[in-house]
Symmetry: C2
């Protein structure tokens, strides 16, 4: 098992973590809509997520998580906490994590000033807070509501509002080279997990450069089974593993689709 | 800000973390359906979640997360990885985290043996894996698919399948005393966040035993605003803060509902 996971880790060229920031997610009042979208887009880009965390709008918690994750993974993507209100503490926390000044970024200030001028709204001091960016960071564009995200070293800081986050992720990915993509395939089996576990183990042992996941489902008493996910960086390896698996399932007269 | 968060932390009698275990969530192939349900149920029970993590089906990652979270929070609830297949490594990881033996639990063995007998299915050696429980843990009942979860010290280990997880959570909460419940209320404002930030800050400063969160939304160009969430352990404090907020909003002619 351990060997398989290690092999899988070596196989993937780049890994990432996601840090979701927000009391509203932890309290259950809001359902996070960002993580799954980020995971899918990163996968398409050849980056796999190894860990995700959700923490509260608390400076020390954010600092600790950022400093742990940015050392452990190639990329860290954060969502939430970059608005103008008292509970938006992400920019401040990140600058403390990197031990750099949080300064009024001239470019961000200009973007926000122009935006509120065009809207006919006051560019008041709380809105000016959104121009505070850690020193040395580069801005991530936001065509939805102007206030930019930012990137410092391997950390990418996005808004929490899904529409804005999606725009920022798209912008950020323009600056990150595409990696070799993990390809995967699914086989669905109409048998309980306990009847195919040995077959899976045999396939895993014989196919060292694929990763095989087994995900049981129980919809109704008659609609249950297992989704088997097979993934690899190498197409031939993937196809060989799929073929092996199908042969072993057929030998035991287990139906698959 | 920091003061407010600290006050809020003292206010809440018990905190918890959730550890979601599964490659299928991290890869984006499966959307987690458990976290939000657990958060809501724990809130009703008077327990608030301070942090959530999602890690892969990797023994060392699970051990590290468990050992960090169980020391930091009153409770840890895990989902996933207790089935019969090669990638189900949760029970093994937890026993290593607690440095106790993973043994065949007689009660769990009997439950599973009876279950498969009744089903007319073979209770084979991979299914017997599901009877392996860390020494000293107590079982958590599973009336859906028999294989039990377990509780060891402050860690509660549930299945990942939502229907089974829900049953186990319900069972586990029977064994945990109800705490004082955090009560909360929402006010929706049809104004951008930047126009109410000062009002929020004033209300926060004047109401030290409430927590106020500000969550902007942009549905369409004409349908945007902020949801303000006010929570407290004390009903009078909550009502006073709500009243203050409404007075300040009215003074600035900002509509709310």
């Amino acid at each position: 098992m351990k060997l398989l996971k290690d092999i899988m880790k070596n196989q993937l060229s780049e890994n990432a973590s996601v840090l979701i920031i927000g009391n509203e997610i932890l309290s259950g009042r809001t359902i996070d809509k960002n993580f799954n979208f980020i995971a899918s887009k990163l996968n398409e880009h050849g980056i796999s997520i190894s860990e995700s965390r959700t923490v509260s709008d608390n400076e020390q918690e954010i600092i600790n998580a950022i400093n742990e994750l940015r050392k452990k993974y190639n990329y860290v993507f954060t969502t939430g906490g970059i608005g103008p209100t008292h509970d938006d503490v992400t920019a401040e926390s990140i600058s403390k994590a990197f031990n750099v000044e949080l300064e009024i970024n001239e470019e961000a200030y200009k973007i926000l000033e122009d935006y509120y001028k065009e809207l006919g709204s006051e560019f008041n001091d709380v809105r000016q807070r959104m121009a505070r960016i850690p020193k040395g960071a580069s801005l991530i564009k936001n065509d939805i509501s102007a206030a930019p995200g930012f990137n410092i070293e391997n950390v990418y800081v996005f808004a929490g509002i899904p529409k804005v986050m999606r725009f920022m992720l798209h912008e950020a990915l323009k600056t990150i080279d595409k990696k070799d993509k993990v390809i995967n395939s699914t086989i669905q089996v109409s048998a309980p997990e306990g009847e195919i576990a040995k077959i899976l183990e045999k396939t895993v042992k014989e196919n060292t450069d694929v990763n095989i996941g087994s995900y049981p489902f129980f919809n109704t008493e008659n609609d249950y089974g297992v989704k088997i996910e097979i993934s690899s960086l190498n197409k031939d390896s993937l196809n060989k593993a799929i073929n092996d698996l199908k042969v072993y399932l057929s030998k035991e007269s287990i139906n698959y689709s």
